[in-house]
């Protein structure tokens, strides 16, 4: 079996290598790829959209339907993890730790709830000793990660960055919170319902901007049509910023949804 797959792989590899013989040289400025369309983008993007970062200009304005469908793919992945893994059966046994004495209570029937106050602390089955170093460092680190993520989303027009990267960084700050403390700690602050709605709302923001352009008479996602409302100056850059925020919202929510569902196998109780 392994030998057969090796032969198949080498065969396709050889065919592709033979195909590369006719490709233009790597990196020469007048290869056909970089003559026709990209020259238009380089020369005219500044004049049309006043956005220095060409990649964001092409991403969010010239080919904005691509990015909207891209956000729909991300939303689809989040919904998929919710659909596949989430199971709503209540957990049978709970573990509580009495903080002052360190005694561990193992409550079997689910309706006897123990108030998780200052005395009792909720904990997972594979209980890890509370590592104060990790907790304090992460507690201090997370706000700065989040501010940086918002900067990346907002600053997509001028520096490399944008909705996807900022959203992922914001999402990973929540995941860091879940890893340093435990999953229930995160779920108390960021409920699953909020994440589900945020992921759908992000794509809806993107779609709303497109549909409003349609209502105002232009084609779908044509930011020029907002001029009468928001004034002529920098209108496309504003449209792109709104779109990037929508993308950032949905990517953040989806990354956290996927993490929560994979790590707790859908029961949302114990995690990494």
């Amino acid at each position: 079996m392994k030998l057969l797959s090796l032969i198949v792989v080498c065969l396709t590899g050889g065919l592709l290598l033979y195909g590369t013989a006719d490709l233009p040289d790597w990196g020469d400025p007048n290869a056909p790829a970089s003559l026709h369309l990209s020259n238009y983008y380089i020369e005219n993007a500044i004049r049309d959209t006043e956005v220095p970062n060409l990649v964001t200009a092409v991403l969010a304005d010239y080919r904005s339907i691509d990015t909207m469908l891209e956000t729909a793919v991300v939303f689809c992945a989040g919904l998929a993890c919710f659909l596949l893994l989430r199971d709503f059966t209540p957990k049978k046994d709970h573990h509580y730790r009495h903080v002052p004495t360190g005694v561990i209570l193992h409550v079997k029937n689910p309706d006897r709830q123990v108030i998780v106050g200052n005395e009792f602390e909720d904990m997972d089955k594979e209980w890890l000793p509370p590592d104060t170093i990790i907790k304090t460092v992460c507690r201090m680190l997370i706000p700065f990660i989040q501010i940086y993520a918002l900067y990346v989303v907002a600053h997509g027009d001028f520096s490399p960055g944008g909705g996807f990267q900022g959203g992922v960084i914001l999402g990973s700050s929540f995941i860091l919170l879940a890893i340093s403390y435990n999953l229930k700690y995160l779920l108390k602050r960021v409920s699953e319902k909020f994440l589900g709605i945020l992921s759908a709302a992000g794509v809806l923001v993107y779609m709303g901007i497109g549909l409003a352009a349609m209502v105002l008479g232009g084609n779908f996602l044509d930011y020029e049509k907002y001029a009468p409302i928001f004034g002529e100056h920098h209108i496309r850059a504003l449209g792109m910023l709104g779109v990037e925020i929508g993308v950032g919202m949905s990517v953040t929510a989806v990354m956290v949804i996927i993490y929560i569902n994979i790590v707790s196998e859908g029961k949302h109780d114990e995690g990494l």
């Binding site: 790597w26 790829a33 990209s38 020369e43 993007a45 990649v55 092409v58 596949l84 196998e265």
Partner: protein, 136 residues
């Protein structure tokens, strides 16, 4: 012989993405463990992204961000297209990376679900347990 070497030297980037792709394809087909197949799948997709990005590369050209005086409404000096990299492959690859992560996330969820049901991720053990299930 030197002509062949010059040919390879001029296009070595395109030859190397094929090698990466074949590693990914081999891992997807021949590996026994489902998670290893996932790694192979991601390597396969990243290799194609490498091919796209190496299309957009131009010698002695800067990154596709137009800084400085051209920035204000384009009335500055005319922008020479040769000294900026080609932005279009970068846009396409932003989409492809996010698609590969979304597919990876869904495939991970499927692996966890398969493990929940059969307690194994090895292809041969799975086949055995599947055939057992049919007999009973």
């Amino acid at each position: 012989m030197t002509e062949l070497f010059m040919l390879i030297a001029a296009k070595y980037n395109y030859c190397l993405y094929v090698i990466l792709m074949m590693i990914g394809l081999y891992a997807m087909i021949a590996k026994n463990n489902l998670m290893k197949k996932l790694v192979g799948m991601n390597i396969f997709q990243t290799a194609i992204i490498l091919f796209y990005v190496s299309i957009g590369f131009k010698h002695n050209a800067t990154i596709p961000i137009i800084m400085g005086d051209h920035g204000h409404g384009g009335h500055g000096a005319a922008i020479n297209a040769a000294d900026y990299m080609n932005p279009l492959p970068h846009v396409l690859m932003l989409t492809a990376i996010v698609v590969s992560v979304a597919t990876l996330g869904v495939a991970m969820a499927l692996c966890v679900k398969v493990y929940q049901r059969y307690q194994t991720l090895e292809e041969d053990e799975l086949r055995m347990r599947l055939s057992e299930k049919i007999k009973l």
